[in-house]
Symmetry: C5
Subunit: 333 residues, 5 copies
Amino acid sequence: MPDVIVDKAIYCDGVRESITGDISDAFNAARAQGDCFLWIGLHEPSQEEFDLITSEVSLHPLAVEDAIHAHQRPKLERYDDTLFIVLKPLLYLDETSDIEVGEINLFLGRDFVISVRHGQANPLGGVRHRIESDPGLLSAGPAGVLYAICDEVVDTYSRIVHEIEIDLIALEHRVFSGEYTDATADIYSLKREVLEFRTAQDPLIPVLEEIVKGRVELCLASREQFRDVLDHLLRVDATVDEHNELLTSALSAHLALVGREQNKVAMQQNADMRKISSWAALIAVPTMIAGVYGMNFDFMPELHWPFGYPLTLGLMVIAVIIVYRLLRRSGWL
Amino acid sequence: MPDVIVDKAIYCDGVRESITGDISDAFNAARAQGDCFLWIGLHEPSQEEFDLITSEVSLHPLAVEDAIHAHQRPKLERYDDTLFIVLKPLLYLDETSDIEVGEINLFLGRDFVISVRHGQANPLGGVRHRIESDPGLLSAGPAGVLYAICDEVVDTYSRIVHEIEIDLIALEHRVFSGEYTDATADIYSLKREVLEFRTAQDPLIPVLEEIVKGRVELCLASREQFRDVLDHLLRVDATVDEHNELLTSALSAHLALVGREQNKVAMQQNADMRKISSWAALIAVPTMIAGVYGMNFDFMPELHWPFGYPLTLGLMVIAVIIVYRLLRRSGWL
Amino acid sequence: MPDVIVDKAIYCDGVRESITGDISDAFNAARAQGDCFLWIGLHEPSQEEFDLITSEVSLHPLAVEDAIHAHQRPKLERYDDTLFIVLKPLLYLDETSDIEVGEINLFLGRDFVISVRHGQANPLGGVRHRIESDPGLLSAGPAGVLYAICDEVVDTYSRIVHEIEIDLIALEHRVFSGEYTDATADIYSLKREVLEFRTAQDPLIPVLEEIVKGRVELCLASREQFRDVLDHLLRVDATVDEHNELLTSALSAHLALVGREQNKVAMQQNADMRKISSWAALIAVPTMIAGVYGMNFDFMPELHWPFGYPLTLGLMVIAVIIVYRLLRRSGWL
Amino acid sequence: MPDVIVDKAIYCDGVRESITGDISDAFNAARAQGDCFLWIGLHEPSQEEFDLITSEVSLHPLAVEDAIHAHQRPKLERYDDTLFIVLKPLLYLDETSDIEVGEINLFLGRDFVISVRHGQANPLGGVRHRIESDPGLLSAGPAGVLYAICDEVVDTYSRIVHEIEIDLIALEHRVFSGEYTDATADIYSLKREVLEFRTAQDPLIPVLEEIVKGRVELCLASREQFRDVLDHLLRVDATVDEHNELLTSALSAHLALVGREQNKVAMQQNADMRKISSWAALIAVPTMIAGVYGMNFDFMPELHWPFGYPLTLGLMVIAVIIVYRLLRRSGWL
Amino acid sequence: MPDVIVDKAIYCDGVRESITGDISDAFNAARAQGDCFLWIGLHEPSQEEFDLITSEVSLHPLAVEDAIHAHQRPKLERYDDTLFIVLKPLLYLDETSDIEVGEINLFLGRDFVISVRHGQANPLGGVRHRIESDPGLLSAGPAGVLYAICDEVVDTYSRIVHEIEIDLIALEHRVFSGEYTDATADIYSLKREVLEFRTAQDPLIPVLEEIVKGRVELCLASREQFRDVLDHLLRVDATVDEHNELLTSALSAHLALVGREQNKVAMQQNADMRKISSWAALIAVPTMIAGVYGMNFDFMPELHWPFGYPLTLGLMVIAVIIVYRLLRRSGWL
């Protein structure tokens, strides 16, 4: 039995029965019993592995190709009596605040569920535990499984939106803290995350709407449960749109703050320049006076006065004081 | 009887009758009388408390879960013969100009209203007083109660939109007052508020539209009243959109003003630099002249002229005056 | 008779008959004659005044409340055999280039028109003159009155859009004149005006569309006339959208021009700085030379040369000329 | 016969017959022959002139008013058995790269076409030549004329869109040439042009769609030809939208380039300031040394050394060289 | 046989038969056999060449005109029993990271496919190989050919979107690397590419939707295959929209980084200015002291002190040290 099979079981009357032998036999046994269904969980199978395992059910080759190659957007396709559904579960990486996008491809029939998972995001283990402990869900058959998976995926969306909200608020605090920091790259990368989130989540809305409107026969009985999931998804969607719009504004606001910082730097520079020039003036004035009395004219009466020198020094001091006061008064010093 | 019950009463033929005993008995009594209905008001009940109180009516478990956990968006859901409605009342906090978002979950049947309130925003007390003093509303039964609550919630929206308008105009005055202030954070936070407002208010439009179009049997008779509420809501909606768009423009405009401020600072700096250099030139010229006559050449005839010194001083003064005039004429001084 | 009645008259077979006595009597008389209708024009009536005047016709209390309190958006509501229509006429104030938003609430029945006007914008006087001189309009009855009012209101929209266009073009000329001016506040306030305009005008489109599609029985015969009005309104709408988009671009363009102005200021500053430093260098060089020959060494042969002094002066002049030429060549002077 | 008649002719069985006498007679003659139709082309007629010429056909007065006053948006209106169509032909002025918006109002009946042209843009002459040389078009009657006009108008749109594309690419080259130029005003004016273009072209889409969907009986037989025109128009529309979006980005990009230019200017300024200060330092050091040896102390042994003077000069040179090297190493010189 | 024929063949029962003689004969032969169809591939034929080759089938002249002149947008048109389909294949040029837009015009009938290719982008050769080696596709007839071409074109879209994603991520790394680079032109040109991509790809969505909804009889049997192609196209579309929005944000973010760079330059300038002024002060102080002792007063006792000179030199050194320390403490040096 290849490694790609993560789990396989038959659920009859709300009870899990392990499959030990051949899948085909188990499948036929399940069919014979009536109210049973088989759930086979695969992880990144190759074409050959997939064909081997699902030989008992007839699946549309294009859907199978999609399921094996992954990289689909969320969608729901009806092929005769089977449904093909693609979901994009997300995984929030705490260390980096990054989002990883996974993919779940589901084939649903009256009596089987085949799930093909790609990537690390893995809500299916939890779902199996939940449905196995909730007879109500099991009795809804494959539709119950689908509901439980959708519910889990959308719940993860809610949690991640909440994490993004926290990141956004932290970013806002940083940007508007009064102290200038460069948040451009962080705003942009959060914006990118929000857009990637939206690309994963947005196409799921029409999928669920179709189920809620009763256009998917297999899920008819569980419509109200799907409506509940849709409702949560719509709330996620509204919040994502709000975040997206807020981040655009945050980018603009940050730009204004960068400009404000420029003003601060320029005003600081001007203040410095004024201070520097003031000190230069304070030195230049006595230097000029000293130059005058360093001239070598024969007839410079001041040079021969007994108090010429101290008077000149005094003149220098007074000149400096006057200039200092003038500069003070005009706010340059 | 648990504390979570805020109020409970039976309304028969437009008259309020208090319930003293068991809710179930009261409920059965009300049903027996025909034109009566029961209104139980709860505040953040636990699952157990809720189940105990509502044991007499059969409510859909998913709706009950929503009502207890809150965090829904406005919606209307039909379950057989009961309606489940979520409203998001808002509370404007005067001190901080902030908005607080509450939640009201309503279960409506032919003969009962169960309201579950979360958060501080509390329009229900006022609504009870209003319907108890308006026999017309009471005679409309649960639909009348729903109308009165919607009307009150949308009225609060109108008042808050008005407050936001006032905040926005004050912000515009600050931004465009001619005097530069940093309004970036305030514009952004008003934008956030407007977006949060819209998230609370926008999904209520399709809810009311469905009632107005007559698709909700229980409210058929009160359609014109709901149309009135919807109309007010649409007006709120248009104003919110206008505010949102104005705030985006205000952010751009503020950015231009930050740039203008930069120009002002740079021009001030340039003017200062010119003034500084002018004064430096005025000092440098006599200093240079003094340097020349400080040289020790044997043959410097000027040094021996009797009027050499005063002439040189005069030369200095004249040079300073000429330079001063040149600088004045070119606008540097 | 209260002052709130602006005008009242009965129109029979295209002829105006004044009402002198009681309104109820006039009304009954008009009804008896068959092809007549009554038009009562009110201005900001109180609830009591309104009830007194309209006692003869049964109007829906919610519509009456709307009409008295005003602050509605344009809408059309059908109540049994009466129509309730809200229009938002605009008034362009030449002195301030501002727009004032008024409100007209209309009740239309088979044989009456009750108009309730709020605010200064007053197209109704002109409409009365027009219909009284146009028998074709009068013969269309209340629908003709409604058409004439809508036509007048939309005509005012056209005129105001034209005024806004003129303001916008003037603003563009100012912004792109080559000479820098600060137009931020003006662009923003024009944007605000355009948005207010749109809020008043936009909801009228579905109102007129409903009439044009023939869903309003009372106006069925005048559909083509209303189509004409709708067409004008759609043209107004397209122009308003164009203005709105242009103003957003104008804000961005203005921002670029503010930046360009910054570049100009900075380049001016740099040119000034170069010029200043050049002059400083021209003074510093001879000052340094003078300093050298001011030294008191015993053995400085130049000092004893007979032509030492004029040679040094010549050296200074030559040094200044060389430096001057170097600076000229590098474009600093 | 008034001058406003640009051309008039009867087309019978694909052959043009000139009208020499009275229009009414010609019209009646054409009607009598069965497969004929009359085309009268008018240019900015007055109400009286128009009424005189079209006395034979009954046109709706509102459509006539529109046709005479012009300033309509593209539209199609059905009045009993006549169609009223408005088109906005454009004229590209090579010298100024400006667009001029004209207007064609068309009345179409089973056996007549009345075209009313306003403004300089004139595609009708070319259309007449085309249909007169294409019997297939003539045999389609008035619908063929309408098709030929629409085709010509949309062809002009295509050509102008191509001119705008050329202007846009030239603008992009200028903006991103590496050399800074101020393109703000040009980007804005191209944006204005694109928006005016869109206002003229956009409302034509639903007009053609209505014809293509077969809702216009008169044009039923020519649907495929109109589909071809619609297709060209949709291509024009997509390109216009792309241009509009690109111009918004160009404005933002230009803003960034203005900012980059600021950086360049500021860095140039800094480099200059460093160079200036370096030269100032180179002069200040020997000046200071000279000052020291200009002091008049009695006991300054260096002054009496025989080689004091040349040593000091050497000291100055060495100091200058050292400072020069330091400045060079740190990149200031 | 003209050179414009790239390939021609008859496919019968999944087998390719070459055509050696006349096309008309081959065509008639194919028709006679029942389950055969003809595929003629043309490259930029002239009108004459096209007419000659397709003389056997009746194609609508407007479609033929479109096919020969190219420059269409993706579309699907039904003419009686033939389909006319336009596709826009893209070619990614590795050297320049540019996109080249080609065009394929297809005529599909029950028993023929005529493909007209314009430009360099050429997916048809690959398609021929694929269908000739896949009997399932061949047995679907012309619809199979159409499917294979659409699949190939959309696959190329996927690959190019992936290349654009790589370019975008590289651009993001450059912009946010911390080191400032001017990425404006690159962001803009990637934006232009994305918009051109969207113009080529967007109109294909409704074409495929129409086929998937079963409105195109010829392709009814292959609906599920076309749904698969549509699905891939929708994924491309979502990614393109995400890229477009991200590039707008990248432009804004880049603008903020340009502003941050301005701040860095300005702060560097300020730091330089402080350093320069500090050194100037260090030189100016001893120069001033030297000037004082260069004065020629008769009575300057210090000049006659035996240690006057060394004391003064010491004073200068101490003054310089004090000023140096002050400047250090305030962070200017």
